[in-house]
């Protein structure tokens, strides 16, 4: 097996030569419209287009990697990929562990979705995805929180009555409201916008992407992308 690994490594080395620097982008692939897996089985969505454009501007070769949300930060710091681009809000807790670029979408309100609009949040059970700003917020309020590993499960919990409401990014919940679910009028302002995450030791790469995001902000192409995918308000 050892020789096999060495063999593939040698093969990879010869194949990778002559290319520009390769950067591996880690994302979740389960959070439409930010990032999701399309019919062809490829990563698609706002962040796919944004990431590809940023890589072009920074003159880097980029490769997309799918990773579970739960372990997305541990796998970044242990070096399995080089950056997180997964609708991750910039918060103080995360900033202690990894570093963020400037935000590429402005801070946007989180919203509640429930089966009926007259629900009492304080006495009810609120669903949120584990290790998100929304889960932290519900816990802080002292409300009853149930956490799920994927966004899909948080919505399913409201549908089958396990939870009374789900708290998540408004742009994601916009894609799920329909005949059986309604969005509450109450919103919460959480997080400091969405940015790309890097290892703290990787300031050089972070600088390149920071500059690329700035150039997309300056020429208005970032706003066009935001409008196209309806992920948030514009700059």
């Amino acid at each position: 097996m050892k020789s096999l690994i060495l063999g593939t490594a040698a093969l990879a080395l010869s194949a990778g030569m002559g290319l520009a620097e390769t950067v591996r982008l880690g994302t979740e692939g389960a959070y439409a419209p930010w990032n999701f897996v399309n019919d062809a089985g490829e990563i698609d969505g706002f962040e796919r287009e944004l990431g590809d454009e940023l890589c072009k501007r920074a003159e880097l070769t980029c490769e997309w990697v799918k990773n579970d949300w739960d372990s997305i930060i541990p796998n970044l710091v242990s070096g399995n990929y080089d950056t997180i681009i997964a609708g991750m809000s910039i918060t103080d807790e995360r900033d202690e562990v990894i570093d963020f670029t400037q935000p590429y979408t402005p801070p946007d309100p989180s919203a509640y979705v429930a089966q009926s609009a007259d629900i009492d949040l304080e006495s009810g059970v609120i669903a949120a995805q584990a290790t998100t700003i929304q889960a932290a917020f519900v816990a802080e309020q002292g409300w009853t929180l149930v956490e799920f590993a994927t966004p899909e499960e948080t919505v399913a919990a409201v549908r089958n009555g396990e939870a009374d409401a789900v708290l998540a990014d408004k742009s994601f919940l916009d894609t799920v409201v329909g005949d059986d679910l309604v969005m509450l009028e109450k919103t919460e302002a959480l997080g400091g916008g969405v940015g790309m995450g890097f290892r703290e030791s990787d300031a050089e790469l972070r600088g390149k992407f920071d500059a690329a995001i700035q150039s997309m902000k300056d020429d208005g192409s970032l706003n066009e992308l935001i409008a196209k995918w309806e992920v948030s308000s514009q700059w």
Partner: protein
């Protein structure tokens, strides 16, 4: 995939289904079935080999070897699988990279551990970040095989150790009386006879191994359970040409059928092997076979 699939919204019934089930995403599901089967096909013999080695080591007259065999089985059996999978694989991966770093980048002056970051030079990355995604996936797959083999090897070692002790002492004594050395008696008498005692335990392990494959996703290998969850989730019109409500129940039902068929086939095959191994043995099963033939 088919020519009539260009506009799925106009299709209905079976033709819609045939298009839906052949999207690129579904092909990923079918590939993951093959990946799981290949993983089992490689892991089972490797784990058996690990188990055989550890069981033999635990019987050795050489004390450190005996410690190694017994230590391996008790430690790995005592650690919860999920902790082992989360901790051990990252440690193993970092150990490989650390060794490569020492060899390939001797001039590197920065520390490898910077806070919680694990930083090695680019040439020491395993696989290299420049290598295509399939190399990363293959590497992850082999890490998975190795981890599964170490975990299940420990259980197999315990089963085989017991089986070796279950072979009647009289058989070994007879071998010694014929003038065989310890080594000869081990290979010619003990090993051929122990399998009949080991098989019930080993077949249990095989069944557990089949059902343990969803742990693969912890290692970054996308297995069938991951794809069933992903494909079964609600799909809205905006993001797919095949919108549907939450279909988890259908996908998980398909998984249920898959696993049941797989374990049933395993049971049939294992029953045949048991019959073959029992032949001519000094066990109750062997005796029954002999009487039925007579």
């Amino acid at each position: 995939m088919f020519s009539y699939c260009t506009d799925p919204s106009t299709l209905e019934g079976l033709s819609w289904l045939s298009c839906y089930l052949t999207t690129g995403k579904h092909l990923n599901l079918y590939i993951s079935v093959v990946v799981v089967l290949v993983l089992l096909a490689i892991t089972a013999p490797v784990a058996l080999l690990f188990g055989f080695g550890a069981a033999s080591a635990a019987r050795s007259k050489f004390l450190p070897l005996r410690w190694f065999g017994k230590g391996y089985t008790s430690i790995v059996r005592g650690v919860p699988d999920i902790a082992f999978f989360l901790f051990f694989v990252i440690a193993l991966d970092q150990a490989f990279e650390w060794m490569r770093h020492k060899v390939k980048c001797p001039d590197w002056d920065q520390p490898i551990r910077q806070g919680i970051d694990f930083v090695v030079c680019d040439a020491a990355k395993l696989p290299l970040s420049a290598s295509p995604q399939w190399v990363h996936e293959t590497y992850g797959f082999f890490l998975a095989v190795l981890t599964f083999s170490i975990v299940f090897g420990a259980f197999a070692a315990n089963v085989l150790y017991g089986a070796m002790r279950a072979v009647p002492r009289a058989q070994i004594e007879t071998a010694e009386a014929y003038g065989m050395t310890t080594r000869q008696a081990f290979w010619r008498i003990l090993v051929p006879q122990m399998w009949v005692y080991a098989l019930p335990g080993l077949s249990n392990l095989w069944m557990v191994l089949i059902k343990a494959t969803p742990l693969l996703f912890l290692l970054g290998v996308e297995d069938i359970v991951y794809w069933a969850r992903e494909l079964g989730g609600t799909k809205t019109e905006r993001f797919t040409e095949y919108p549907h409500p939450n279909w988890h129940v259908w996908y998980f039902a398909a998984l249920l059928v898959f696993y049941l068929c797989f374990t049933k086939v395993s049971e049939v095959v294992l029953a045949r092997i048991m019959k073959r191994l029992t032949k001519g043995q000094a066990t109750a099963g062997g005796e029954a076979q002999r009487k039925a033939a007579a």
